[in-house]
């Protein structure tokens, strides 16, 4: 059983524009081909246990496939390009990664961070799946650019082995992705310094300097770096997505005054300035200065940015830079492109599908009530 809610509160002009734009999208999209998608996410439960969980969607129900208990909270689950391996990574300032098989859930490897490093919860595979890059902190460096990109290579035995690292050219690197050229990494340097001894305390809010850094994945050379304007230096660039044209979608979390009107979503194309995007004031002021995940839809034009503090999902047009609309979604954070829109998961345990063309939410009921007392963590990915 599922429930659909249609929304009528969207400004009519935006509504019509979005419908027209969607009609012009390519009909064929990648995730439409998926017959038995495997969704993966970190999760916690009401007994304070932590998991990486996989589920599928069948007949508008979600069905648990497998579950692996973790010692602490993970943040994101990353997939290789063949989509047969997953890596669940500890959230900052955690120090573990777990590698497993997507289809079976079998755990292949448990990895501890290199001495003096902690993870930030994200990583990305090279196009040939031979290398894996993790965002890390050299946390004993309390003054300089302590961000690091850890380089892991797949061994003959198929295990990830750490071979090297290079600077992220900033502090607090968070999400990292591979650009369409397959040779450049784009890094969201959040700018915030943390130390494992001080739990999750942010140590440099007044002087933080977030940036978007493009780095050659082989040499570590910094190819381009972009900063937010000085007045927004407390807008921590955390999460990113990239479309086929190399336009990077950026989401931010603002550490400054709660009443300021600050862009929290932006896009960037190599060689240009960062283009911040603001929602109309009545929407922007409700976002509580915090975006969780950001993802493109399958067309690569529309962006969803989840705002768990404001309990909404916001939708944006990456081409025009326009805010399109928002929909209510309590505590929703994990999002991924799926069918004609997005699947999203929430801290309430809910998993819903949002159809961009129909502008309708379908709530998927969980088989065996497996989401009872379950809190889906920040990110959701589909294999």
């Amino acid at each position: 059983m599922s429930s659909s809610i249609k929304f009528s509160a969207i400004p009519r002009r935006s509504f019509l524009n979005l419908a027209l734009l969607l009609a012009a999208r390519p009909v064929f999209s990648k995730s439409q081909q998926i017959e038995s998608p495997v969704f993966l996410s970190a999760a916690s439960d009401s007994d304070n246990q932590h998991w990486v969980k996989a589920f599928t969607v069948e007949n508008e129900q979600i069905k648990e496939l497998y579950s692996h208990q973790l010692s602490e909270r993970a943040h994101a689950v990353e997939l290789n390009n063949k989509a047969d391996l997953f890596v669940a990574i500890a959230r900052r300032p955690g120090r573990f990664m777990v590698v497993g098989e997507v289809q079976s859930g079998r755990i292949l490897q448990e990895i501890e961070a290199t001495e003096g490093r902690h993870f930030y919860g994200h990583g990305v595979f090279s196009a040939d799946d031979e290398y894996f890059y993790t965002t890390e902190s050299a946390y004993e460096d309390l003054q300089g650019d302590s961000g690091r990109i850890g380089i892991w290579r797949k061994s003959v035995a198929g295990k990830l082995e750490r071979i090297d690292e290079f600077p992220s050219h900033g502090v607090g690197p968070h999400e990292a992705l591979l650009m369409p050229d397959q040779e450049t990494l784009v890094i969201a340097n959040g700018g915030i310094r943390t130390h494992p001894d001080q739990e999750r305390e942010k140590l440099n809010i007044d002087s933080m300097q977030p940036s978007l850094a493009y780095i050659d994945r082989t040499t570590g050379e910094l190819l381009e770096q972009r900063y937010m304007p000085a007045e927004f230096h407390q807008a921590s660039i955390r999460h990113i997505d990239v479309n086929a044209q190399g336009r990077v979608a950026i989401s931010m979390q603002f550490e400054g005054e709660p009443f300021m009107q600050v862009p929290l979503v932006a896009t960037h194309q190599r060689g240009e300035e960062i283009r911040p995007m603001l929602a109309p004031e009545r929407f922007q002021s409700q976002l509580e200065q915090y975006i969780g995940s950001i993802r493109y839809d399958d067309s690569g034009r529309y962006i969803v940015a989840s705002c768990p503090r404001a309990n909404v999902l916001t939708f944006w047009d990456a081409e025009s830079g326009d805010f399109l609309k928002q929909v209510r979604a309590r505590d929703a954070c994990g999002v991924c492109a799926y069918k004609d829109g997005f699947l999203y998961s929430a801290g309430t345990g809910q998993v819903c599908y949002y159809d961009l063309a129909q502008q309708a939410i379908t709530t998927y009921v969980a088989d065996d009530d497996f989401t009872h007392g379950l809190f889906w963590d920040n990110h959701l990915v589909v294999a």
Binding site: I5, F7, S8, A9, I10, S44, S46, H75, R91, R92, G121, H174, R200, K202, R238, Q253, P258, F259, E281, R282, S285, Q286, G292, P308, R309, N311, V327, R328, A329, R330, D331, A332, C333, A346, G347, T348, G349, H372, G373, F375, W376, D377, N378
Partner: protein, 356 residues
């Protein structure tokens, strides 16, 4: 026990008898039952409290005009009293940080606190030194920094050491105070009007325009307001003031320390929060609800024995010990509510409390 409290309790008991006592599941499962409580809260608590704030703010405007027409000590006392009443009215709705109060930065423009960097004082000093009357027009003033608007800004002016003399020597202070008071009044009216004209209809049909998923979603906003406000009292209003030891206590970290009204604020908060919790008793298991109410009762007893001023309460080690007890009791209230929530399926947030 006031009439609202009695009515709310009666309503809660009625709904409770229809509930099913299974831990880890919601006792209220029907949307219309949530809506019924939400409407009671809106009609009996929220709207009357905002209407009271609106009335007190209008009185504040009148008292400012009265004082400025004849600058004397007696009129200043009347104005200060009007200020305290406006602050008391605000404290009764301070926990509601969603809905109309969140439009146009109204919440921060009504009260920018805590002001850890002393922004308000710096900016007020600057505009008083400049004496620029152009910024005092309605539209212009609304766009000024939140540091020069709202109740804390007015408190800073009215409770300056030699306020009367300063007012007598500087006409700009009257113009500025009148503007701040009018601005407070306009915000109060704006919020009240929107609750009456718009938000009440939303409470009645929360999913109609997609602003809420359903009535339970809206109820969670109220319960979150309750829990977050208790945490705010503990972590912002008390902890930085009490410090680790008697000698490390800091009265100036308190809300409303200039008007010596910090504990009066907390008393107002707790009264409002108790009424709000009472309204949602049916959502909790009977023993959990009773446990929370019992802590409320103990907390009110402790507050009853304390003065309105925190600086007065910080004068002796004996009183300081009472403040520590107060802190522990607010913490106990937070824990009792957390336990009560945990025994239901009502989750106030997971990702929303995260920072990654």
């Amino acid at each position: 026990m006031n009439k609202y409290f009695r009515k709310l309790l009666a309503g809660s008991i009625l709904v409770l008898t229809g509930g099913q006592l299974v831990f880890g599941q919601n006792l209220i499962t029907r949307d219309e039952d949530w809506t019924s409580i939400n409407l009671t809260v809106t009609d009996e608590l929220v709207i009357p409290a905002y209407q009271n704030l609106e009335a007190r703010s209008m009185a504040l405007v009148g008292a400012t005009e009265n004082f400025c027409s004849d600058l004397n000590a007696a009129n200043l006392l009347v104005l200060k009293d009007a200020y305290l009443q406006s602050m008391a009215a605000w404290q009764a709705v301070q926990h509601i940080q969603f809905g109309p109060i969140s439009y146009f930065n109204w919440n921060y423009r009504m009260q920018y606190w805590p002001d850890e960097r002393g922004t308000s004082g710096r900016q007020l000093d600057a505009i008083i030194a400049a004496g620029d009357e152009a910024i005092l027009s309605g539209n212009s003033f609304a766009r000024q920094s939140v540091g020069v608007q709202g109740l804390p800004a007015l408190e800073r002016i009215l409770y300056a050491d030699s306020a009367l003399v300063e007012f007598q020597n500087n006409d700009y202070l009257c113009l500025l105070s009148a503007t701040i008071a009018s601005n407070i009044s306009e915000i109060s009216s704006g919020v009240t009007q929107r609750w009456v004209d718009e938000y009440r209809a939303l409470v009645q049909e929360p999913a109609a325009d997609g602003l809420y998923e359903n009535a339970e979603d809206l109820s969670i906003d109220f319960l979150k307001a309750l829990q977050e406000s208790i945490a705010k009292i503990r972590d912002l209003k008390l902890a930085p003031v009490i410090g680790e030891t008697f000698n490390a206590s800091r009265n100036r970290a308190a809300e409303s320390w200039r008007s010596e009204n910090s504990l009066a604020n907390i008393k107002n908060n707790i009264d409002s929060l108790e009424l709000l919790f009472s309204a949602y008793m049916a959502a909790f298991h009977e023993e959990d609800g009773a446990a929370v109410m019992s802590v409320f009762s103990e907390l009110k007893q402790i507050l009853n024995d304390l003065p309105d001023s925190l600086s007065a309460a910080l004068e002796s080690e004996q009183q300081y010990a009472q403040l520590q007890t107060l802190y522990a009791e607010v913490d106990a209230l937070h824990e009792a509510l957390e336990t009560a929530l945990k025994n239901t399926d009502l989750y106030l947030g997971f990702n929303s409390l995260d920072g990654d």
